[in-house]
């Protein structure tokens, strides 16, 4: 199982290193989205600590959906091909490998987005450092859920709108928890209960993914 997980992670990262989609396409998209949402929310006003953390997570959620959509799309992956199915890869290992590989890729983009958000919304470096653990766990949650819903939505010829429609309602608690914890860090307040929710989500959906990912791929 561990060798399969490692092989999947290695392949995904190697592909990324060669194609550089994350660096040249996804990260610039995320930064631009942050600037645009900041403009739309009139973030130059004094309320930027109110809207900033939320905007960061709006951008990260759409970046997650973008990466997951790309992972499961027929053009960039042979995951849905008969030949790949015939490899009969262990579903649990495939899920964990995909989640780990994608979570690390997302964390790279998140690092860029959070650093830029510090400049745009005047978050101090210290508060972002305090928020870092919660940001990491929130990204793991988004990936855990996203890969599960990505597998459910993956089908040749499937509309790109289906993944966000089925995934976004389930992202809601993660977005709220992440936003609350980031707000707490930049305003120096406590928000302890949200940690429990984030960890609960990782455990519940990680468990469901490990159990069902292989089954979903076979249906």
């Amino acid at each position: 199982m561990w060798s399969t997980i490692a092989a999947i992670i290695r392949v995904q990262w190697r592909v990324e290193m060669r194609q550089r989609v994350l660096l040249w396409q996804v990260a610039p998209f995320a930064v631009m989205a942050l600037v645009i949402t900041g403009l739309a929310a009139n973030a130059r006003s004094v309320t930027r600590t109110d809207v900033g953390p939320g905007l960061v997570y709006v951008v990260l959620v759409f970046t997650t959906l973008l990466l997951i959509g790309r992972l499961f799309s027929a053009e960039s992956s042979s995951l849905s091909s008969p030949s790949f199915t015939m490899l009969a890869i262990d579903g649990s290992a495939a899920y964990l490998g995909t989640v780990i590989a994608l979570a690390v890729e997302l964390l790279v983009v998140t690092g860029v987005v959070v650093a830029i958000s510090g400049l745009l919304f005047h978050f101090s470096a210290l508060s972002l450092l305090v928020a870092a653990p919660s940001i990491v766990v929130t990204i793991i949650d988004l990936t855990t859920l996203g890969v599960l819903f990505g597998a459910l939505a993956a089908r040749p010829g499937q509309s790109a709108a289906l993944l966000p429609l089925i995934a976004l309602p389930s992202f809601t608690p993660v977005i709220i928890a992440g936003e609350r914890l980031l707000t707490a860090a930049v305003t120096h307040h406590g928000a302890g209960q949200w940690w429990g929710l984030l960890i609960l989500m990782s455990a519940v959906y990680g468990g469901i993914g490990v159990l069902l990912y292989g089954v979903i791929g076979e249906l």
Binding site: I8, V15, S77, S78, L87
Partner: protein, 207 residues
């Protein structure tokens, strides 16, 4: 042991009966050819034998497994597929692709050199898959099957995109697999002549 027994099998895709009551029995290991025109149901028959598709009605057993969810998983584990696609990533090299496939299926990686040699792709082992021609991709798919050594080889139009040397290669590979005790089922709509054929079915109108 009977390799496969299909009785009145109906398979639907998007509410269309791609197989419409097909019956076929493969009693012994050997080389079998599925012939038929475009859209006759050849690939669908192969997909059922591979455990890729569930049957809507009828009865089917492959490699001793009924084609329910558990049985299909086991059939997939023991079969090899060569189709128009390949389980390979365009951004990875020939060797990286084979290495990944062997790791996730626990096939010894030591078989790679011999397999690449048999399909004459040794000199291309460091080439990225996207730079391979259609015929070379097909050879890569065959190399993977040589490495995997499945009990049931399912080859969908294996001669497509291959030159004369490639066709001879398919013939040799099929002969070697059958000599090793495997069953090879291949589809074709061409008048392909194999050195050994143990059975043949002509599919028309999904049966």
């Amino acid at each position: 042991m009977t390799v496969a027994r299909l009785t009145d099998v109906v398979v639907t895709r998007d509410a269309f009966p791609v197989l419409a009551g097909l019956s076929w029995t493969i009693e012994h290991p050997g080389a079998y050819v599925v012939r038929g025109g475009n859209g006759s149901g050849k690939t669908s028959l192969l997909r059922v034998l591979a455990g890729l598709d569930a049957i809507a009605s009828g009865d089917a057993q492959v490699l001793g497994h009924p084609l329910n969810a558990t049985g299909r998983r086991e059939v997939r584990r023991r079969s090899g597929w060569l189709g128009h696609d390949a389980p390979f990533h365009d951004a990875l090299t020939v060797a990286e692709n084979l290495s990944f496939a062997s790791t996730v299926t626990r096939v010894p990686r030591e078989r790679m050199a011999d397999a690449l040699d048999q399909v004459e792709l040794t000199s291309r082992s460091a080439t990225v898959a996207s730079r391979l021609s259609a015929g070379q991709r097909r050879r890569l798919g065959i190399a993977w099957l040589i490495m995997r050594r499945p009990e049931l080889w399912l080859l969908d139009e294996p001669h497509a995109a291959l030159d004369d040397a490639g066709r001879q290669l398919v013939d040799d590979v099929v002969a070697r697999a059958v000599a090793g005790g495997a069953t090879v089922v291949l589809t074709t709509h061409q008048d392909v002549v194999l050195s050994r054929v143990d059975g043949e079915i002509v599919v028309r109108g999904g049966r």
